[in-house]
C-alpha cells in the first residue's frame, strides 16, 4: 500500500511535474514504466504481506508490534493522499523529494528482505541494511513529511480543504488546518517510540545472527 502510494506519487508529481511538457516521448514511456512498476509493487506487496504473516508466525524472531506498524502505514498513506496529492501547490517542494527518497530506499531494502526471507536465503547484507540504514533514513523521512505538511498549511487555510463548518444538517464540523497541526504535534510522542522500537529490534536481530554464526 505504501509503495504503490509512493510509486503513484512519482507518477503524479515526482519528476513529471518538474519537467512539465518538455518531451512527450520519454514522458509516456516513464509513465508506462511507473504504471507497471506500481501494478507489480501492489501485486507483490499482497503476496509478500501474506507470506510475511506466515513467515513471522513460523520464525517468531521479530514480533512486530501491530499498533506501531499500523501508525507507520497510516502515516505513509496520509502523507501521500491527504497531503501531497490533495494540495497541488506542495508537490514541487524539496521536502516531498526528501521523504519520497527515504521511503523508496527503505521499501526497496524491505521488499528484498521479505523476498529473501520467504525463499529462506537471506544474505546478511540485506538484513544488516534493513536494520541499520533506518537510523539515517527514518529521521530523513520524518523531516520530509513534517516539512511537507508545514508547507501545505497556508494552502489548506486559504482553500478550506476537507473542512466543514456549522451550521449544517449533520451538526458536524471539521477543520483540516487544525487537524494537520495536531498530526504534526503527534509526531513528537510517536516518532521516538517507533525509532527506539527499531533500535531495539536491531539489537535483537543482529545479535541473534551473531549467535547463529558462532554456533555454526
Amino acid at each position: 500500500m505504501a509503495a504503490s502510494g509512493s510509486g503513484g506519487n512519482r507518477a503524479d508529481n515526482g519528476y513529471g511535474s518538474q519537467q512539465p511538457r518538455r518531451r512527450k516521448g520519454p514522458g509516456a514511456l516513464a509513465t508506462a514504466y511507473l504504471v507497471i512498476y506500481n501494478v507489480v509493487m501492489t501485486a507483490g506487496w499482497l503476496v509478500i504481506a501474506v507470506g510475511l504473516v506466515r513467515a513471522y508466525l513460523a520464525k517468531g524472531i521479530v514480533p512486530s508490534s501491530v499498533v506501531l506498524t499500523a501508525f507507520q502505514v497510516m502515516s505513509r498513506v496520509f502523507l501521500t493522499w491527504a497531503v501531497t496529492h490533495s494540495v497541488k501547490e506542495v508537490q514541487t517542494e524539496d521536502s516531498v523529494l526528501l521523504f519520497v527518497m527515504a521511503w523508496t530506499i527503505t521499501e526497496i531494502i524491505r521488499y528484498s528482505f521479505y523476498t529473501f526471507s520467504l525463499l529462506n536465503h537471506l544474505p546478511y547484507l540485506i538484513k544488516w541494511a534493513r536494520y541499520t540504514l533506518f537510523i539515517v533514513l527514518y529521521p530523513m523521512g520524518v523531516s520530509g513529511e513534517l516539512l511537507t505538511i508545514y508547507a501545505a498549511l497556508p494552502f489548506v487555510r486559504q482553500s478550506g480543504l476537507y473542512s466543514i463548518s456549522l451550521p449544517n444538517k449533520y451538526n458536524f464540523s471539521f477543520d483540516y488546518y487544525t487537524f494537520l497541526i495536531l498530526v504534526m504535534i503527534s509526531y513528537i510522542p510517536i516518532f521516538p517510540q517507533l525509532y527506539f522500537h527499531m533500535l531495539h529490534q536491531r539489537r535483537k536481530v543482529l545479535s541473534h545472527t551473531e549467535e547463529h554464526k558462532k554456533s555454526e
Binding site: 456549522l166 451550521p167 449544517n168 444538517k169 449533520y170 451538526n171 458536524f172 464540523s173
Partner: protein, 286 residues
Amino acid sequence: VEPNATIREIRLMFHKLYPRWYPARQSIKLDPKGKSLRDEEILQHLPVGTTATLYFKDLGPQIGWTTVFLIEYTGPLFIYFLFYFRMPFVYGLDERFTSSPHPVVNLACICHSFHYIKRLIETVFVHRFSHGTMPLRNIVKNCFYYWGFAAWLAYYINHPLYTPPSYGKKQINFAVIMFLLCEAGNFSIHVALSDLRRNGSKIRKIPYPTKNPFTWLFFFVSCPNYTYEVGTWISFTIMTQCVPVGLFTLLCFIQMTIWAKDKHCTYLREFKDYPSLRMPIIPFLL
C-alpha cells in the same frame, strides 16, 4: 499451608507477608503462562503433588469495578450540563447561559441524563460483578474515552448553530419511543442477569427469557443488554441527527460486539446444552 486451603486464604497469607500486594492485586497461577487461579479453588483439588509450586504475578494497582463505573458515568452526566447550560468558556461570552430555541435540545439533555443516571443506579443496586477489580491505569484511558466523547457530542447538540432533525417532529417522536423501549429493555436484562446471582454466588448460569417481554430477546441473543444499548444510542443519533453521536454509536457497537462475542464463546465453552439459535448480539446475524 493446609491441603484444604482455598486460594483466597493463600492470598491473605501472602498479603500478610508482603503488605504491599493486597489480595486483589495478586495473580496466582500453577504455570507461569497459565490462567490466574480463582479464590474458591481448593489446593488439594488442583493438579499438584505433595508440594505445590505457585507462581505470583503483580497485577498492578487495582480499583473496584463499582468505583470505576461511578467515575466513568458521573463524568458524562455533568460534562453534558456544562454544554447544555452554555458555560461561558464553551461557546464564548456572547452566548453564555443562553438556551436553545429548539425543544429537541432540551429533550436530548433529558434523555442523555436519564441514560447515565439509570446506569449509576444500576451500578449501585443491580449489577453483580464476577471480578472485584480492574487495573488502575485502565480508568484513565476509559475516562478519556467516555468523558471526551460526551464533551464532543454535547458540544454540537447544544451549539447555538445546531440544526434540528430534517424530518422534524416525526423523527424526534419515533426516536423518543425507540429510546424508551431500549432503555426499558436494557434495564430488564440487567435485572434478569442480576437475579441469576441472587445469593452472591459467582457461578455462571445460562440466562433464560422470563415473563417480561423485553427478556424474550434472550431466545435470539446471548447479550441482549448490549443489543438494547446499541438501540438506545441509535435512537439518540436519530433524535439529534448529529454525526459525532453517530460515530460514538458506531464505536459503542464495535466494542459491544467484541464483548458479546467473548461472552458468547465463554457460554458455549462452559455449557454443552447452550441454545443453538442464539447469536452474540444481533439476532440471526452477528
